[in-house]
Amino acid sequence: MGMTVAEKILARASGKTVVRPGDVVEPRVDLAMSHENAALVINQFQDIYKGTGLEPRVWDPDRIVIIFDHRVPAESSKTATNQKKIREFCAGQGIWHFHDIRGDEGGICHQILPEYGYVRPGQIVVGTDSHTTSHGALGALAMGIGATEMASVWTLGILLNLEVPATIQVAVTGRFQKFVGAKDLILHLIGKITAKGALFKVLEFHGPTVERMEVSGRLVLSNMSVEAGATAGIVPADDRTLDYLRKDAGVREPLKPVKPDPDADYDRLVEIHVDDLEPQIACPHTVDNVKGISQVEKTRIQQVVIGSCTNGRLDDLAVAASILKGRKVAKGTRLIVFPASSRIYRKAMERGYLRDLMESGAVIMNPGCGCCLGVHQGALGDGETALATTNRNFKGRMGNPNGDVYLCSPATAAASAVTGVITDPRQGGKS
């Protein structure tokens, strides 16, 4: 019996020829990413060394990447002090893959990792952020871990006691209608298999629809795989992946895509056909509470958010700008846009997307996680409703337990910003 992509990667990284679901392995980590919560990782890391008589040194500073994105620029003195502590730690440990609060190389961790070519097919990537699953889009095995787990990785360079997860095969066929895409597909999948449908398992995406999809769309699929409970979401690397890594991310080293064996043993198969898929909306307060847009049209919204590690990329801003150009955001509705990285911000500026968005009434924020997790830059008022291209709609997520969050694609968000109510982008934003 053959192996899935995740099994092959885990076998290689653990020095084994074959692994099976349930086996316990200790794979070597290729890339370890943290954001502001590195402050806690540092704390735990120093605790590990306490009393050992050893000098705390990370196992390999070249394999650690630190990116500030969750609260940038700092929203409080506490955050600023944490960021200061992390800066000093990076300098002391020689961690030079460090993306500070900067307009030239800053951004959201899950955009910076692919954009700067840190992620390669076949790698084991861990991050102290649940959406680390994003990097499966480049054919890596990428998963979120907690801060203490990361402190252990910084110490030993391996993941301790990992059980090999089973893999669910997702086969996607058909062509999307205009203004329907990767976000609608992943919301539909989560609605179908539920928030626990892939718990402790890996989603592996296949089919002609995924093969035709750009890396930016694949990142959306992998990013939100965790919302179905998945450990990881993998799109096996292909020519499109290599093309992205060479041309966009500037990677020059040899790359080795990992394909599943033809006789790989999957936990189950989930098939989706997208020809007739309508725009999808995740309704409050769980990501698997997914409805076709026709069921929630005309829901009034006070805040529209376009951005985040899920949908703040250049093509997301392009589609939003194309819908909003020459039109106005509805009175009583505010549109907040967070480009996912400085590079995207600059390109969106050069191509005129930001001008079109601003002229429509949008507020353009600096790259970062912004209001997605309810820390700053766009909390909801009591009884207010947001429509967002972000990834979670849990109660309290956008800073207020008395607010509602609906999730959608950038096209749906833009069309709805024009009308002030949830609007099908296929109807051109006419109310």
Binding site: V24, E36, N37, A39, L40, N43, Q44, D47, I48, Y49, G51, T52, L54, H70, R71, E75, S76, K78, T79, N82, G127, T128, D129, S130, T132, G144, I145, G146, A147, T148, E149, A151, S152, T155, L156, L160, N161, L162, E163, A195, K196, L199, F200, G229, T231, T286, D288, L373, G374, V375, R392, F394, K395, G396, R397, G399, P401
Partner: protein
Amino acid sequence: MSCVVYKLGDDVSTDTLYPGRFMATVLPSETVQYAFADDGEFNARLQKKEIAPGSVITAGSNFGCGSSREQAASCLAGYGLVILAKSFARIFLQNAVNLGLKTLAVPDLEAEPGDELEIRNDRVINRRTGKEFPVLPLPPARQAVVDAGGLIPYTKKRLLEKAVSSH
């Protein structure tokens, strides 16, 4: 004996356990104050120490879904709470094991607030109804971390073994 103090449903998210706006607070000694911060009544009961260590929260499936934020586990561990759920989200479960928060998967559990439970390694007994419910065992790999008292002592042990073997 452990008393059920709160009964929750499916998909309790890390935003319920520890809202994102308090994420700049990281030290376990400080996270406790924000446990269930958006649930004013339960947060107040915890902060006023009305809930004894060893008390039980019961929940449905996928407890702790969402963020990898470790505060969601450390804030509960700080009160000595025990979580009995049908199932747990992966990162939360790992964080709980790593930090010594007691979590048991008891898929068939029937218990109401106020019930006294006897928690054994392999089963939970509801003293009010007399019914017994099997506990799903932790995978042996995770049990080793629990037995070591958490991931920090476990990694410390591995680090020292490595230091010895490389000399």
